[in-house]
């Protein structure tokens, strides 16, 4: 997998983000986390949202993932309008369509690797087998280990297996390597790329780590709550070649 073709960004858009603003009321101060953002995410692409801490990238990801609703503007996922969804609708959306990978893995300590994945496959509409998901992230041998018995990188791979096991429409990764060392970080990125490639899952990775952008189909630069630029990556690099 040394040479990877950039995907056709002209394929169908999965997400339409239109004039989305998010204002937080912090006491008496208003914080504009997002200012009228417009963005589309396309079927099967791997997008990297790059920005410094406080740029608004996490807020954008949260809104896309149905964890938060915008103050103004519209978010359309296929035929769902997420802007008007209530808590129950958003839960349903997350349950059926979104896979999350967090910086701190957020595994359930009382469940084994396999069970953490099964937790999701049991409530998903068309899941893959939990064992297969774990095999895909290279953890076939550690199915019955509890999180406390796994290394950080292994825990993050369980988290990825958990996210992809339901065969989500979109995989959202929030600083997936943030808590990991260089070597393990790269292994995790390889897994994300493999999932994107083999399953064709639309993937958005947010990071403040610029070199990671080289593995993207598109790089979206975010700063001060605005999209600064979007660049197509004509020559995608493999995660194993990344250096930071």
């Amino acid at each position: 997998m040394k040479s990877i073709q950039t995907k056709n960004t002209e394929s169908e858009a999965v997400f339409h983000i239109h004039s989305v603003s998010k204002i937080y009321q912090m006491g008496e101060v208003q914080v504009h986390a997002l200012r009228s953002v417009n963005l589309d995410l396309y079927e099967g692409e791997l997008a990297v949202l790059l920005g410094a801490s406080g740029s608004g990238k996490s807020t954008l990801l949260n809104i896309i993932g149905g964890l938060d609703v915008p103050t103004a503007g519209e978010v359309i996922f296929r035929d769902h309008n997420l802007t008007q969804a209530d808590d129950a609708k958003l839960t349903e959306f997350r349950r059926d369509h979104v896979g999350f990978v967090f910086q701190f893995y957020n595994l359930i300590p009382s469940l084994t690797a396999l069970e953490n994945v099964q937790l999701i496959t049991e409530i998903a509409a068309k899941p893959m087998k939990a064992e297969d998901a774990l095999e895909m992230v290279g953890l076939k041998e550690r199915l019955n280990h509890f999180p406390a018995q796994l290394s950080g990188g292994e825990q993050q791979r369980v988290a990825i297996a958990r996210a992809i096991a339901k065969q989500p429409d979109v995989l959202l990764c929030d600083e997936p390597t943030g808590a990991l060392d260089y070597k393990t970080g790269k292994i995790v990125l390889e897994v994300i790329e493999r999932v994107n490639c083999e399953l064709g899952t639309t993937t958005a990775v947010i990071t403040h780590n610029a070199p990671i952008a080289q593995m993207a189909d598109r790089v979206i630069h975010i700063g001060s709550g605005e999209i600064l630029s979007i660049e197509k990556n004509e020559k995608k690099a493999s995660p194993s070649d990344l250096v930071w």
């Binding site: 938060d68 839960t91 059926d96 957020n106 009382s110």
Partner: protein
């Protein structure tokens, strides 16, 4: 205010739900302690003040007739302070508002009012006027029940003749705080009262001029009661004395003393359970607080706060919860105590029933609540104090889970991950789970005990009023009557069945132990008044020998086959040896039975009876009552149905109130334990739960994980609750005075079901409150930070 105290206030606010739940449990414990102890103290004070202000006698004796000159001899008994001789007699009354005859005890009083033993406290009216022979002072409860006013009149058969008596005063006396007919268990104030009349008038009516038939006396301080009783009995022996006795055997005093001792026991035992649970709850809340604040504790220490400062800080937090609970509990307890005291005032007649909680009770309740706070806080505060600062500032390592019992049993494959989470969390902290289960089970046990009292009372009612007592009317005679009287009774209107009895006062001796009882000669194979043990088994009297209640046999330490000495306290006062033919485990009273003819033989008499039980056609009752009223030989008429009502009113009401309080408090405990448990797991595992929400789990599913643990603990606790409830019931049972009533150990299905339902319901309420908080989980925050 310094910064640490500001932190205290903010922590307090942050933990308000748990602090309120804990404070409520404290309040219940303290309220139960304060209400019961203060009622006890108030009643005891009222009783003691009353006794001393109105000169309640120490020793009481009844006799047939003795010349007044004997009084000097009695006064000479060493240790006797004041002697009061009286003429006392039971009379039948014709009350204007009753068709059935009523009964009263006439007690003579001096012509002119002077201080006397068992003195009168006037509620209304005045003392009798000198020379009057038809003026009476009547007892307060009797007046209230019949709505008598000063100036009202009624008739009494005095020595065979109807006499019209006019009420001039209504009064109370320490001798009849509990106004009840001799031998009865429940008061019937409408049909039984005390009348005080001019000594001269009573004496001439009962041929007692210059004589007396009743004596009461007080003792000089420090004098042995038994030696005086012995001397008095010796003097009265030749005058038909029926055996003198002290306060312990005086009917009114005994009832009150019994009720008081019960109150004292309950007021010690139950609050102890509540406060134990409180200590446990504080332990839960504070341990949790210390572990969430370990980084802060480390920081404070790093900057130089001493262990003492830190320990005090957490102690203050627990003291705030405790003292707010204690204050609430004291007020609630005083409110309930005043209510309970009023309840007792309905059947204990004191001139002044002053409710006061007393400083001692209040101070002591603060003391015990702070004590339980200290015990509860101790280990948590220790943990905070001994945390090394550098280690404390590092986040606590993640929870370690390994394969446990679930996997060993291979059960995990049958459970969905959600239920595996629930069970693994429980098995990871078994001590915490055991404590929570224990707390809930204690509450369930209190509920169970509360409902058990109803079961016991219902069983007593069933056995006593439906199986033992099956007659409609009891009749007693002034003097023993020939056995053929039964045929005269049978011929009275509406009487369908007559069974007779012979009753004599007697003293039973075995070795050095002795007991005064009423020896009852009953018909064998009786149908109207059967002898039945606590299990409902009918007992047939053997043709010879004496049968004792088990409690009486226990006191005398006799067994079947032993030979008792029976000293009859009536007539020729024979003393005989009689074999104990059996014992019977009865629910009420301490009884000694003989077959009626065996008793007649023992007394060297022919077929003689003291009274009869009648079965009556209810349509002809009125006529029967009218005839009985006109029958001079009849001393009194008892109606078992009235006794049942009175039982329900007195015991039913107090036990009802008591149970209500118990149920309320126990529900609060269940609520407190479950709420705190769930809130603690919510804050400990907020991150885990929020992660699940992010992954698409609904609030309901998250709540199952959170509350599933509490549900398992609650369900587990219930069988233990039953177990502890049965143990508590048995303990309480042993504490109740067996001489008056023994609570049968019966538990109805209803008790099991209701205590189950109430426990589950209050667990559900607290669960819902916590589930409501699940909505507030911050889904975004949880993704960013590592706790």
């Amino acid at each position: 205010m310094n910064a640490l105290n500001k932190k205290l206030f903010r922590d307090f606010w942050h933990l308000r739900g748990q602090i309120i739940a804990t404070a409520l449990v404290v309040a219940c414990g303290i309220a139960s302690f304060v209400s019961m102890q203060s009622t006890y103290v108030s009643l005891l004070d009222s009783q003691q003040n009353y006794y001393s202000a109105y000169r309640f006698a120490d020793i009481f004796a009844h006799l047939k007739k003795a010349p007044e000159s004997l009084k000097t001899e009695i006064e000479k008994i060493p240790g006797v302070a004041v002697v009061n001789t009286r003429v006392v007699s039971e009379v039948t009354l014709n009350l204007p508002n009753l068709t059935e005859p009523a009964q009263a005890k006439i007690v003579s009083i001096p012509e002119y009012q002077t201080p006397m033993l068992n003195d009168l406290h006037f509620l209304r009216g005045r003392y009798i006027s000198a020379g009057s022979s038809d003026e009476v002072i009547i007892s307060g409860a009797f007046a209230t029940a019949n709505n008598f006013q000063i100036g009202d009149a009624f008739e009494a058969i005095i020595n065979g003749r109807w006499r019209k008596l006019t009420i001039v005063g209504i009064a109370l006396t320490p001798e009849y705080i509990y106004e009840i007919r001799a031998g009865d268990v429940f008061p019937d104030n409408k049909r039984y009262g005390i009348l005080w009349m001019n000594r001269k008038a009573v004496a001439s009516a009962f041929q007692m001029d210059g004589a007396f038939n009743d004596v009461t006396l007080t003792l000089a301080p420090g004098v042995s009661e038994s030696s005086v009783i012995e001397n008095l009995d010796r003097i009265l022996k030749n005058y038909g004395g029926t055996g003198s006795y002290g306060r312990a055997d005086q009917q009114s005093h005994r009832f009150i003393a019994n009720e008081f001792s019960q109150l004292k026991v309950q007021g010690t035992f139950l609050p102890a359970v509540f406060l134990g649970v409180t200590a446990f709850l504080l332990h839960l809340v504070l341990s949790r607080l210390v572990s969430t604040q370990r980084e802060q504790i480390g920081l404070l220490k790093a900057f130089g706060y001493t262990n003492f400062d830190i320990g005090l800080h957490f102690l203050k937090l627990s003291l705030t919860a405790i003292s707010s609970g204690a204050v609430l509990g004291i007020f609630l307890g005083m409110y309930l105590g005043a209510g309970m005291t009023n309840l007792y005032a309905d059947y204990f007649h004191f001139p002044v029933l002053q409710y006061s909680a007393g400083w001692f009770v209040i101070l002591f309740s603060f003391f015990i609540s702070f004590g339980s706070a200290a015990i509860g806080a101790l280990s948590a505060v220790r943990k905070a104090v001994f945390l090394p600062p550098a280690e404390a500032m590092r986040p606590e390592p993640p929870a370690r889970f390994t394969a446990g019992f679930l996997e060993n049993l291979g059960l995990q494959k049958y459970l969905s991950p959600i239920y595996r989470i629930v069970l693994r969390n429980l098995s990871r902290q078994p001590i915490k789970a055991i404590f929570s289960t224990f707390g809930i089970s204690l509450a369930a046990a209190l509920l169970f005990t509360g409902f058990y009292f109803f079961d016991a009372i219902n069983k007593i009612i069933e056995i006593q009023f439906y199986q033992i007592i099956r007659n409609d009317v009891d009749v007693t005679f002034y003097q023993p009557r020939p056995g053929k009287t039964r045929y005269e009774l049978k011929n009275l209107p509406g009487v369908s069945r007559v069974e007779v009895f012979r009753a004599v006062p007697a003293r039973l001796h075995f070795l050095h132990r002795t007991r005064k009882v009423g020896l009852l000669g009953a018909e064998n194979n009786s149908d109207l008044r059967r002898i039945i043990d606590k299990n409902g088994k009918v007992f047939n009297l053997p043709p010879e020998g004496i049968v004792l209640s088990k409690s009486l046999a226990d006191i005398l330490e006799v067994e079947k086959g032993d030979k008792l000495t029976v000293e009859i306290l009536e007539g020729s006062r024979p003393v005989r040896e009689i074999k104990v033919a059996g014992t019977i485990d009865e629910l009420m009273g301490m009884n000694a039975y003989m077959e009626i003819h065996a008793l007649n033989r023992l007394l060297n008499e022919d077929d003689v009876i003291s009274g009869a039980y009648l079965s009556v056609d209810s349509l002809k009752k009125e006529k029967l009552y009218a005839d009985l009223k006109e029958t001079p030989a009849v001393a009194g008429v008892g109606l078992p149905s009235v006794a049942l009502n009175s039982f329900n009113e007195t015991f039913g009401k107090t036990i009802g109130t008591f149970t209500f309080i118990l149920v309320l408090f126990a529900s609060v405990i269940v609520f407190g334990v479950v709420y705190n448990g769930a809130r603690i797991s919510l804050s400990e595992r907020g991150r885990e739960l929020a992660s699940l929400r992010v992954l698409g789990f609904t609030q309901k599913e998250i709540s199952i994980i959170l509350l599933g643990e509490q549900a398992v603990l609650t369900i587990l606790a219930i069988p233990f609750g039953y177990f502890f409830g049965i143990i508590i019931s048995m303990l309480v049972n042993n504490m109740v005075d067996a001489e008056i009533m023994r609570l049968p150990l019966v538990f109805s299905a209803q008790t099991f079901v209701i205590s189950f339902v109430v426990t589950i319901l209050s667990a559900i309420v607290s669960g819902l409150l916590v589930a409501w908080r699940v909505r507030n989980l911050d889904l975004i925050e949880v993704l960013k930070t590592r706790e």
